[in-house]
Amino acid sequence: MRLELGWSDVDEVTAAPATRLAGKRLEVDLDGLRELLSADPRLTRIRLDLAHPGERCRIARVFDVVAPRAKTDGGEDFPGVLGSVARAGHGRTLALGGVAVVATDQQTDNVGTLAVIDMAGPNAALSAFGRTHNLVISAWPSPSTERSDYLAAVRLAALKTAVHLAGTAREAEPNRVDVFELPPSPRVPPELAHLPRVAYVFQIHSHQRPTGLDEGILYGDPVRRMLPTIVHPNEVLDGAVLRGFMGRSVTTWAIQNHPMIRALYAQHGRTLWFAGVVVTVAQATEPERVRSAFLTAGLVAHALGADGAVLTKIGGGAPHVDMAQAAAHCEALGVKTTAVVEDMSTDGSAEGMLLFDFPGVDALVNVGSSQEPIILPAMERVVGADDIASKLLGETRATYGGLCGAIEQVGATRVMAEVR
């Protein structure tokens, strides 16, 4: 399959009477967009805010972040969730650089589970979202809208907005085009057959909390009881995979810009042959975890014929162990692995970093400790959290995990826990 991602880079975003892209300036008709999003009966009172890099602004109650993308030539946007179920990963997709859609959660009282984004100060550099122009969506649930429906509605609003914004680039000439082309795994040209075949095992959800019916993750399927399966990497890059409603240090944005898939593509045909992507779900019981692990290893070793595999996880401790078990089963079949883990220690002690010790699972990259404290400096404006704005204006303490985009478990970030 061949996917072309046409990027239009934006360095200015303003409210305007009509939504359009004028060179590098994105003009947004906020009233019109608000009206578009208000059509969803599950939501009431929608508010849209703009937050720009360098502003002393803090965005709070962050639920997820989505990258602006729009299919061209009849392709379906976010198939199965926004668009109809159709294959993603081919044709031409429009993308806006420098802009992000931030969805906030206005329903939960448990604000501690939601993240913040700082647009200025030392934390801005730690996250991709401190450097993008952010369109922040705050929407409240209609009376009697249940939790799962509310989150589905909020996410849908973010997806619609993402498409709406990227659509402005339809007439524009892209600043740059990324081409992602990967033939079916077995078809290796003879001159490249010597390259090590590398697969990516992508844990897309964790079953510690069962998914809602409307919580589409893979082509809109809530992946309940999903057994490991294979997708083309372009499908991940083109909207087929979204983050569910619980995201510990993973955003939909990071999945859309998938760093591991991009890294493997960058090396493909040079230092490795990108053998494919296996998607898995972290299981909640031991027998299911074992089954998932050996099925994953089977796909990696026998179907994709991989020599090596990189693995990432989504979620906390149980997914961490689940991923390690999959890696251990791969190693047992002779597939060398590298896994991306989080520093699981809660008190900064090196002994607590890892929750497993499996033979062969010895090559580990870490994305830092999400529990490590960080200072949130005073700001002049808070967006997305009227109820706690006064508290968030002043200097407070948070953790790295509470800073959206500072740690991305799919490997997009540079924060790392160093053992001292």
């Binding site: 510690q208 909640a284 019981t285 031991e286 027998p287 401790g317 149980a318 162990v321 390690a324 078990q325 929750l355 497993f356 010790d357 499996f358």
Partner: protein, 61 residues
């Protein structure tokens, strides 16, 4: 999470029925659920009686 238990050195480990309901199941009738619970507890008692030299996982049938 039995691998964690093995790693930290717990010696007798019985695999239970899931994180969210280690000694039960929402899918079973109350009688069947209690029977499952009893089986796991009896397995635990059996494990207590068994001499072990290192972390050992006692699986469920």
């Amino acid at each position: 999470m039995t691998p964690v238990a093995v790693m930290v050195g717990a010696n007798r480990i019985v695999s239970a029925a899931g994180i969210i309901h280690p000694l039960g199941s929402a899918d079973l009738s109350p009688e069947d659920e209690k029977a499952l619970r009893r089986r796991i507890v009896e397995q635990a008692l059996q494990a207590l009686r068994t001499e072990v030299a290192k972390p050992t996982v006692f699986g469920r049938e």
